[in-house]
């Protein structure tokens, strides 16, 4: 019999794969209203919205690319993390077996598909300790198309005429959107980090996807930049799937990390419209106490 922990986590995977969060769906509905009737952009969004309803009703994967599994866990001090990791692995194994996850994990040396989606570094599990009694687990599934258009800049960048200031950062973000065109499954969401190093910048950029679409950055300059880039990106006219249209992005989320004097990285993570993000709070027995992002 699978443990309560495994059962709760399996349900989290199923739901994340099948049931798009309401904030993302609302943004897509809003985008649909912006597009001309009979346009290719409108057709793309109609298809997307129909797909969201079907996946939810069937409890079946919204997108066949069930993506990199990114688990973000907050646990009490002195919590046994080995048991949590084992339960996550067992849930991933079962979800793959039943077809909630595609065999999606490749050994880079042999080219073989890793059994049960378990491989070196897969799934990705972040665990942090916090003064709390319960365990919060957030899951993001990020598809390969959107991962391939994610990128990192080092300022200054002469080609983009981007200097070491927030205007330079803005130029990088728009260049990333233009470079992506429809390949990241637009309209998507940008997660950005200003600063950090090669690795922490990218990690912080991705972590922005834990934020709901309607929240605000913690710092006024970031709030202004998020708004500005969102408005500027729509003017590029790339539109849903890159067919041309009014909505190129659904949101922009920016964080910042301290940097070295020599380094000025702008890390841009792209999330496709199929923005699969769910979370649960579990008690000490692994039972679901409540859902996050509902």
């Amino acid at each position: 019999m699978p443990s309560t922990w495994t059962k709760s986590l399996l349900e989290l995977i199923r739901r994340t794969s099948a049931d798009l969060p309401r904030d993302v769906e609302a943004a897509l509905r809003q985008a649909r209203r912006q597009e001309k009737p009979q346009s290719s952009a409108r057709w793309a969004l109609d298809t997307i919205l129909a797909n969201i309803r079907l996946a939810r009703a069937r409890n079946a994967p919204l997108c066949q690319d069930t993506g990199t599994l990114l688990f973000y866990c907050a646990v009490p001090f002195r919590f046994d993390t080995r048991r949590l990791t084992a339960a996550i692995h067992a849930a991933v194994r079962q979800a793959t077996h039943e077809g909630s996850l595609r065999p999606n994990t490749i050994d880079p040396l042999t080219g073989c598909s890793c059994a049960h989606n378990l491989g070196a570094g897969a799934p990705v599990i972040h665990i942090e300790f916090a003064p709390r009694r319960t365990v919060a687990i957030r899951l993001i599934m990020k598809g390969g198309g959107s991962e391939n258009v994610s990128t990192q800049f080092s300022l200054p960048d002469a080609r983009l005429k981007a200097g070491r200031d927030l205007e330079g950062v803005r130029r990088c973000m728009l260049a990333a959107v233009a470079q992506a065109q429809g390949n990241g499954c637009a309209p998507g969401v940008l997660g950005v980090c200003i600063g950090g190093d090669h690795a922490t910048g990218t990690e912080c950029a991705k972590r922005q996807f834990l934020r709901p679409l309607n929240d605000h950055a913690s710092e006024a300059r970031l709030v202004a930049l998020e708004r500005q880039v969102l408005a500027d990106a729509q003017k590029l006219g790339i539109g849903p799937m890159g067919f041309g249209g009014a909505t190129t992005l659904l949101g922009v989320k920016i964080g910042a990390l301290a940097r070295l004097p020599a380094c000025y990285f702008v890390s841009v993570a792209y999330m496709c419209w199929a923005f699969r993000r769910r979370g649960v709070v579990l008690d000490s027995a692994g039972r679901v106490v409540r859902q996050l992002y509902d």
């Binding site: 079946a60 039943e98 080219g111 598909s113 260049a175 539109g239 799937m241 890159g242 067919f243």
Partner: protein, 185 residues
Amino acid sequence: MPVTLTYPFTSASIRRLKVGERVLLSGRIFTGRDRLHKFLAEGGHTPVSLKNGAIYHCGPVVIRAKGRWRVRAAGPTTSIREEPYMAAIIKQHGLTVIIGKGGMGAETRQACRRYGCVYLHAVGGAAQVLADTVKNVSGVHFHKNFGPTEALWELEVIDFPCLVTMDAHGHSLHELIAKLSEAKI
């Protein structure tokens, strides 16, 4: 009104299509992604003929239930990764339809014009809507060698919805949108 297109996809029917037209495609299509394209471009052959056929850039979720394959999710993958191989495959195998997402580059566009091939864009991420059009899985090849996601699946579809974004006359919606958007930066 969308244009209907039925397998085999002859050059004459392909050349009638224009960028911006919606298509409902029916008949047999073959999935293929990175492993298959590399294999074909390096001179490999498939057990099925690709002549007047369609390659669908897709790694479906397929489960085996009651002795049959069942497609559980089947949206398109990004096509541009196959750009180094696509033109050679069109030329060597007489492929007339590519289905994928995101569009392809200049070499594929030229091969489409020269040999009479079309690029049909399916809606990325719409795995349930598209899986609904798959009525039967009639075969699978390279399942062991390439793995289930990269295998060549023979799918029978009815009214598979897509949009012409690169036609056999040298036009590409992707090149147009890229040019317009880059001019605005």
